[in-house]
């Protein structure tokens, strides 16, 4: 790495030094609890649509915790946060609009 890159890396490392160990254990605990809730819901014989909605909601919370705390994105600058998250979410919205709508269309038309 050149000098400027080393300087930036040192500054980022300095920021990481202030992260409390307990915070990471808390996040890990919450992730395990959320996983346990997901498994518990599986045994409740819920309607698939309701269950899918709840499971995806919990998965998004877990994803946010991992990205925010473990991947440190919440400590990055706003431009980094918005650009990374908006681009990937935008792509998934496009995939949803095209693929899932088409899958439902296949069901409606009765094509095999």
């Amino acid at each position: 790495m050149d000098e400027i890159q080393i300087a930036i890396a040192e500054r980022v490392a300095e920021e990481h030094r202030h992260h409390k160990k307990a915070q990471f254990f808390w996040v890990w605990g919450v992730l395990l609890v959320l996983t346990a809730v997901e498994v518990y819901l599986t045994y409740q014989n819920m309607q698939p649509a309701t269950m899918l909605t709840i499971l995806m909601g919990l998965s998004l919370i877990k994803a946010a915790l991992i990205i925010g705390f473990f991947m440190h994105l919440r400590y990055e600058i706003s431009l980094m946060k918005w650009l990374t998250m908006c681009s990937v979410v935008g792509c998934f919205i496009i995939m949803t609009v095209f693929m899932l709508w088409d899958a439902r269309r296949v069901v409606t038309l009765g094509l095999k």
Partner: protein
């Protein structure tokens, strides 16, 4: 002596990073964004098959045993993310010993995940839920329920093995990546031993018998990398490796509910 003209409108090398961090980390983020689209496409393919196939819901084969196994696998990955973040923390505190220990703990949790996943795949294949490209299992007639799933909903096996196989490959390469960061050159012979064990210990009909060669390829690539650019990996390298590892964990947070929990048959 003529004065040098400094063009102020041209960005210099000393301009601060646009994203406020070093380029290696930005590069990894860009890779992870592109990789998330790969997994996104596979997850959507699975969901598409599921929605567009009328008898999919009644045919999915996961009983309590599979759910318990997948839950333990999830716990392994979540714990590995904790040990990874502790490795990053140790690296920025220049605590080399703890950095190596936490990285090895992360690799161990990842290996636990791969072993449990491999065991699950082997059970499914032996019971008849397989792909045409996998060799037939000698001496196993197969479970009628699983054979029925393959016959009526072939999309399930295709999307299941592609999605989970791609994820397992990512975890395996993640373990290799962390091994190189933690042990550098010393990891290459260990990788070669692991390749030999994985190749020779698995039966010839198992997909892992051929899949083990990924470790040989990884050993060759890592050997070239550490030979061409020998270095002591610093905190930025550990952090970038950590980003990759957490991403693998993140992807599983969607595979686990979509593929396993939504497909559970609780009896």
């Amino acid at each position: 002596m003529a004065d040098h003209v400094v063009p102020h409108d041209v960005p210099s090398v000393y301009e601060p990073s646009l994203f406020g961090t070093y380029s290696k980390k930005i590069g990894m983020w860009l890779f992870l964004l592109s990789d998330s689209l790969t997994f996104g496409a596979l997850l959507y393919a699975y969901t598409y098959s599921r929605i567009s196939t009328s008898n999919f819901m009644g045919q999915t084969p996961f009983h309590s045993e599979s759910i318990v196994n997948a839950t333990i696998m999830t716990a392994f990955l979540l714990t590995s993310s904790l040990t990874m973040v502790l490795a990053v923390r140790a690296s920025v505190q220049k605590d080399q010993k703890n950095q190596t220990l936490w990285l090895l703990a992360t690799m161990l949790c990842g290996a636990g995940f791969v072993v449990l996943h491999g065991r699950e795949w082997t059970n499914l294949i032996e019971q008849g839920m397989t792909l045409p490209m996998f060799p037939a299992v000698p001496g196993h007639a197969g479970n009628p329920e699983f054979l029925d799933v393959v016959k009526k909903v072939p999309q399930f096996a295709a999307t299941f093995f592609t999605l989970t196989g791609m994820h397992m490959l990512h975890v395996t390469l993640g373990i290799v990546y962390l091994g190189v960061v933690a042990l550098r050159r010393k990891f290459i012979p260990i990788l070669l031993v692991l390749w030999l064990v994985a190749w020779l210990a698995t039966p010839s009909y198992s997909p892992f018998h051929y899949g083990a060669h990924v470790l040989l390829l990884a050993a060759i690539v890592c050997g070239i990398v550490v030979w061409l650019k020998p270095k002591v990996y610093d905190s930025s390298d550990v952090e970038v490796a950590g980003l990759y590892w957490h991403f693998v964990d993140l992807v599983w947070m969607f595979i686990f509910p979509l593929v396993y929990l939504m497909s559970a048959k609780i009896l």
